[in-house]
Symmetry: D2
Subunit: 140 residues, 4 copies
């Protein structure tokens, strides 16, 4: 797994009541919601392209999502999702996410695609591509 | 991808309002919730070991979840998740899930682990193991 | 509370793992999701106006939602939501919902409003109004 | 409606992608989730009794929830939930919540009950009752 040393964006999350199941641990569909929250925050805070803007002309749906659950999260745990942008294609983006709360709780490989309103892949807008390249080169 | 021909369990799901995002398509964390619903139904209907029973002595948390999103689902679509049990370990189970509504919408590779109340892996209970073996051998 | 004797629509729901909290009982935001599922099914099955159709020209947002939680639901419980349409206004509809699983689990008073794409109240479409009137008069 | 002037606790919330429906506005079951998040944060930050602690000996289930939806929330909106504790009973607590983002978006009357592990009402623990009384008297 890549991305452990130099995360491009970090997203803190407390494990709340709504995230936990009858076994008292995080319910994995809720982790996926947290993953989406983290990516949404990265687009907004870091790439300057909010989901509110994105949905006006298309979307950034997920094409691939691979998650390894390493250790459970419990109610009240404070975790952090560290996102690294690994690859930028014409219309795709590959991310690695490592969620830690002390130890690693789960790791994620995710591929997003930039699409138009018909769901067809389209090129990343130039200013967004420039921003992502800056981030990947560590110049931000 | 395996499991396409002989699904061991099928789970129908209509794409509802709650599943859809502002872009009008299924929101991927909701697909993961549907995946859990399908697996929960398989344990209940097919393996004779309901989640209500399971939580009394442990759980069946997910260790790995790999999803390929092939085509979007839209509000009102009727899809079906076909689950195939691929491998049964001492305390693990590997599943393939194919979600179709006409075309393939998404495919899943998932690994579950049978755990005790402390979250430690434990052997599948004998009657459950026997049932799963019967299913995998096609004798059910 | 009205509506107990002659429900206009009934919606069965099993209490699933995703509905339950670390205390092992139904998490109330999930009940609200179930309430929406029930109303969505009523529009689709009973009023002939699916949410997939509705969103093309507006919506039916909730204006008021009053819930009394009478008894908890537990994982695996089978409940049923009985919906009665109490009043039909030009653009509004008042519902009573009683959720039972043996005893009453929760009761709901809900007001929906028929809106256009700008969120402004609009009259119920004539065929839908006719259908609702038939249902309220018991002629369906 | 009470509680507008002197909120005892304020909870900020950005309206995220996960909160929004195909009509592009907040989905009301998600508002209820936000309401729970706000109450959970109040218990943790303000009453010194976290949900992680509470579930060890019981719960604080909701007995009544009345919501008036005044104006929709849209993706990206920043809102704030202002909570006022209106009444404290032996085992109950009545709250008023006003959610604003500029204008009022929704208002809530909610009654919580302090219960033991069997779901039976029990007295608020003395230190928690003392804390709530201090808050209600404005001495905190």
């Amino acid at each position: 797994m890549k991305g452990a040393e130099v995360a491009h964006f970090s997203f803190p999350q407390k494990i709340l009541f709504k995230h936990c199941d009858p076994a008292g641990i995080g319910f994995y569909p809720r982790y996926v919601e947290i993953i989406n929250d983290a990516v949404e925050a990265m687009f907004d805070d870091c790439l300057g392209w909010s989901f509110a803007e994105i949905v006006k002309t298309g979307g950034v749906p997920t094409a691939k999502l691979n998650i390894d659950f390493k250790a459970p999260c419990r109610l009240g745990d404070q975790i952090q999702l560290d996102i690294t942008i690994d690859r930028l294609g014409r219309s795709s983006m590959a991310l690695t996410i490592v969620a830690r709360g002390g130890e690693v709780r789960f790791t994620v490989d995710q591929v997003l695609v930039c699409t138009d309103t018909n769901g067809k892949p389209r090129s990343w807008p130039d200013p967004v591509r420039a921003k992502i390249n800056d981030i990947m080169e560590g110049s931000v």
